[in-house]
């Protein structure tokens, strides 16, 4: 059980957050067309998992835009933006913003399972039930190259550190 803060107040985060060298667990998440996809859908690619509470909040939206912009510079990699938002809401956002370098995936079928497996499950506070803000970078074999559980949910992740491990 880890702990982060939301505007200074402590927030409990359930599950064990991934560390460098760990192998990422399998997942089944819903893409924009509501089809279930797993890590194997991106086999052979390096992956940036951009995990956050909701696309309809300013910090999360900024992180998606930033990774969308930077993603093209990292070869053979894909950015997966993951939240409990419905695929309808994720699609609306990416469509309105013209974001084409990121994939959005929704945990709506079973948020607790994904969030617990990845150690990002917010279990108390007003955000209980959602995923915390985190970035996990995986190599072609789904080994963790970099991970950051953002200490203050209102802050943005360290984009440079995540992208640096792919350069």
């Amino acid at each position: 059980m880890a702990s982060v803060t939301l505007k200074g107040n402590p927030v409990a985060v359930g599950g064990k957050f991934l560390a460098t060298g760990d192998t990422a667990p399998a997942f089944q998440l819903a893409d924009a067309k509501r089809n279930l996809v797993g890590l194997d859908a991106y086999a052979g690619k390096r992956k940036i998992l951009n995990i956050f509470p909701s696309i309809d909040t300013p910090t999360c939206a900024t992180s998606v835009r930033t990774f969308n912009k930077e993603a093209s510079s990292a070869s053979n990699s894909v950015v997966l933006c993951i939240s409990a938002d419905l695929p309808f809401a994720q699609s609306r956002f990416c469509g309105a913003e013209g974001l084409e370098n990121v994939v959005t995936l929704s945990t709506f079928r079973d948020t607790a399972k994904f969030a617990t497996d990845y150690g990002v499950f917010i279990t108390d506070s007003s955000l209980a039930g959602l995923t915390a803000r985190a970035v996990v970078v995986l190599d072609e074999n789904n080994k963790v190259l970099h991970s950051e559980l953002v200490g203050e949910i209102a802050d943005e992740p360290n984009y440079a550190a995540a992208l640096a491990v792919l350069k």
């Binding site: 309808f88 809401a89 709506f108 955000l127 039930g129």
Partner: protein, 168 residues
């Protein structure tokens, strides 16, 4: 036999314990726009229109929220509750661009027990885990006056029938 709805004719199974007429609404706890837990007790003594829908960012659901908002304006002592798995942040974005005054949204973001207990949870298809499109009406003692499980998700519910149940 579970209930069923459909999306463009593809059948979808729905949890089979939709309350019948005269039954009492089960207890629920959901999350309001301010991310606070809200239970059925917050609406004690009020008549209720429960509007379940799959997602606000689809045309039919958004339209139903708008139409019910207008219809509810003339109904005294009636709580209009829009219920979906949309996050409160998404609903805040929706409400910011609409001029709606009568309903409140409650999110299943902390769990979908309520959808099971109310018999509105879709169990199969790509939409499994979301509420089906359902209109449920109850009196001030939480006795069910009207229930409609919409059989095709692209269709709107029968608003008139729901409102009549409150005027009868």
């Amino acid at each position: 036999m579970p209930n069923a709805t459909a999306l463009l004719d593809d059948p979808i199974l729905v949890e089979d314990n939709l309350p019948g007429l005269g039954q009492a609404l089960p207890y629920f706890q959901l999350v309001n726009q301010a991310l606070e837990d809200v239970s059925i007790e917050a609406f004690s003594g009020q008549r209720k229109i429960l509007h379940f829908f799959p997602g606000i960012d689809t045309a039919t659901s958004a339209n139903s929220v708008r139409i019910l908002d207008k219809l509810a304006a003339s109904l005294p002592n009636t709580a209009l509750l829009h219920i979906s798995a949309d996050l409160p942040f998404t609903m805040a974005r929706f409400y910011a661009t609409e001029n709606l005054t009568n309903g409140i949204h409650l999110s299943t973001m902390r769990g979908r027990d309520m959808l099971k207990n109310y018999g509105v949870l879709m169990m199969t298809s790509k939409l499994a885990g979301l509420p089906a499109r359902v209109l449920m009406v109850a009196d001030e003692n939480d006795r069910v006056l009207h229930v409609e499980l919409v059989k095709e998700l692209t269709n709107e519910p029968d608003y008139e029938a729901a409102i009549e149940a409150l005027q009868g």
